[in-house]
Structure formats: structure tokens, C-alpha cells
């Protein structure tokens, strides 16, 4: 199967791998998993006082497409508001990385991870 250069780049040089302190009030953590392939994704956002995501980290166990999808969204969310981050669609991720149809679920996983991280942050702050 031929993968796009962008996908290979994110897979070989994943951005923002790691984690923040979960207890930190400015951090929102999202964890999701895809039963069909066993992939597990943890995605964290660090939000500043203005409600802007200033940093993001991820840790993903899964195939190359899942790693690339999470790497890409950690780049995308930086500088975005929470609402803007919530608006990220899996189709945009899939298109950017030119994911083959059988790997679309990896982009869904990344979208769900962002949503879970934002919800976790909002919950922490009683919003």
C-alpha cells in the first residue's frame, strides 16, 4: 500500500510525543481506543488563561496511520480555541494524510481523542 509523504513524515518523526502532568489544572486529557484494531490513543492539551491551546502531547499505541493522525492533530490544535479544536473533523485529517479507506478509523480515533481532551478540560473547570 502506498502511503503519502506527509503520513510517512509524521510516522517517522512524530511531533509532540509525551505527556503532561494529569493533575495540572491547565491540562485536559483524552483517552480513546478502537476495538477493531486495538489502537489506544492518549491526547493532552495545555490551555492558557485566555482559553487558547498552547501546547499538546500524545501517546499512541497503534499502526502508523494512528500515530500520524495523532501527531498531526497535536500540531493542528496549537493556537486554537477549545471550540475551534472541537470543530476538527476526521475527514480533514484523513484528507491531509491521504489515508487509505481502511485507515479512516485512525482519523476518527484522533478526532474523538481531541474531543475527549477538550471535554475533560471543560469538566475540570466546571464548564
Amino acid at each position: 500500500m502506498a502511503y503519502s509523504d506527509k503520513l510517512m513524515d509524521h510516522y517517522e518523526n512524530p511531533r509532540n510525543v509525551g505527556s503532561f502532568e494529569k493533575g495540572d489544572d491547565s491540562v485536559g486529557t483524552g483517552m480513546v481506543g478502537a476495538p477493531a484494531c486495538g489502537d489506544v490513543m492518549k491526547l493532552q492539551i495545555k490551555v492558557n488563561a485566555d482559553g487558547v491551546i498552547e501546547d499538546a502531547k500524545f501517546k499512541t499505541y497503534g499502526c502508523g496511520s494512528a500515530i500520524a493522525s495523532s501527531s498531526l492533530v497535536t500540531e493542528w490544535v496549537k493556537g486554537k480555541s477549545l471550540d475551534e479544536a472541537m470543530a476538527i473533523k476526521n475527514t480533514a485529517i484523513a484528507e491531509e494524510l491521504a489515508l487509505p479507506p481502511v485507515k479512516i478509523h485512525c482519523s476518527i480515533l484522533a478526532e474523538d481523542a481531541i474531543k475527549a481532551a477538550v471535554s475533560d478540560y471543560k469538566q475540570k473547570h466546571g464548564k
Binding site: 477493531a36 486495538g38 489506544v40 492518549k42 480515533l109 474523538d112 475527549a116
Partner: protein, 177 residues
């Protein structure tokens, strides 16, 4: 033997429609059913009958494969009751379960990277006991509580465990091979 295609897989083997299953009885029923529709028995029959026998043989095997595997059996039981297990679409698993999944993956990776077959074998036996516990829970949810939503979550969990099982197996095979 006449097989009605409208019968479900349990009826096909004269089993009651539940998760708990006597695997010996399944095995025997399958052998008997498979023998009855075996293509060899229809070698001199008209083409239409041959085709019918072949379709029945396929159904009998599909039924056996489905009922033999706890995961597939549970999924099938849920589908008979109109419940989709959402294994392709539902990504929100209980947090503690996902944390445990991460730890499993880390342990497997560590053992693989240090070529530690004993550690992988230990993980494999721990996983098998986790799987047995989950299957017992699944039986409880399906056969006693009839809690179909809980059972669907358990099917998704079991799917993760099967994947881990496969990863550990692959790692051991690579190291020993």
C-alpha cells in the same frame, strides 16, 4: 437432511440460545450436521440438490466457527437481539480499561525490546486469565442479567484482549523464530 436457512445457528445445532455452551456438544452436533450435508453424499444427485447441499455445508461451517469463538458467539447473540457491538465506531472505553491497555502495550514492548521470552510468556498467561474472567462476566451479562448494553462493552473489551493476545503471540514467535 433438510436445513431451513431461517433457523439461527443455535437452532441449527439443537443448542439453546445462550452464551454458556457445552463445547463438546457443539463439536458433536457440528460433526453430525457437517456429515449430513457433505458434498460427497450428493455426488450422484441432481445439480440443484448438489448446490443446496453445498450452501448448507457452508452455513453449517459458518455456524460452527461463530459459536466456537466466545467473542463471535457473544457478538452473534447480541446481533440476534438487534444490538450492534459498535466495534468499528465506538471509541469511548472506560478510562481505567484504556489505561490498563496502555500498560499492557508498554509491557509487551519492553519484553520484546529486551528479547525476554519468559516475560512474554508470563504476560500471555496473565492475559489468558483476564480473558477467562471477562468471558465469565460476559456470560453473566448475557445469560442472567440480560444487560445487553453492558455485554456490548464487554465484547469491545474482549476485542482489545484478543488483539493483545495476537501481539504477544507474534512477539514470541519472532523471538523464537
Amino acid at each position: 437432511m433438510t436445513t431451513e436457512f431461517s433457523r439461527d445457528f443455535f437452532q441449527l445445532f439443537g443448542l439453546s440460545r445462550r452464551f454458556a455452551l457445552d463445547s463438546q456438544q457443539l463439536e458433536q452436533s457440528w460433526r453430525a450436521a457437517a456429515a449430513a450435508v457433505h458434498p460427497d453424499r450428493y455426488a450422484s444427485s441432481p445439480d440443484a440438490e448438489k448446490r443446496m447441499a453445498l450452501m448448507q455445508a457452508t452455513q453449517v461451517n459458518e455456524a460452527y466457527q461463530t459459536l466456537k469463538s466466545p467473542l463471535r458467539r457473544a457478538r452473534y447473540l447480541l446481533s440476534l437481539q438487534g444490538v450492534d457491538t459498535q466495534e468499528e465506531t465506538n471509541t469511548s472505553m472506560p478510562l481505567d480499561f484504556l489505561m490498563a491497555q496502555m500498560e499492557w502495550r508498554e509491557s509487551i514492548e519492553e519484553a520484546r525490546d529486551s528479547s525476554d521470552v519468559d516475560a512474554l510468556e508470563a504476560l500471555s498467561s496473565r492475559l489468558r486469565s483476564d480473558k477467562r474472567a471477562l468471558e465469565a462476566e460476559l456470560g453473566e451479562a448475557l445469560d442472567r442479567a440480560a444487560d445487553l448494553d453492558a455485554a456490548a462493552v464487554m465484547v469491545r473489551k474482549l476485542r482489545f484482549l484478543e488483539k493483545l493476545d495476537q501481539e504477544i503471540g507474534d512477539a514470541i514467535e519472532t523471538l523464537l523464530g
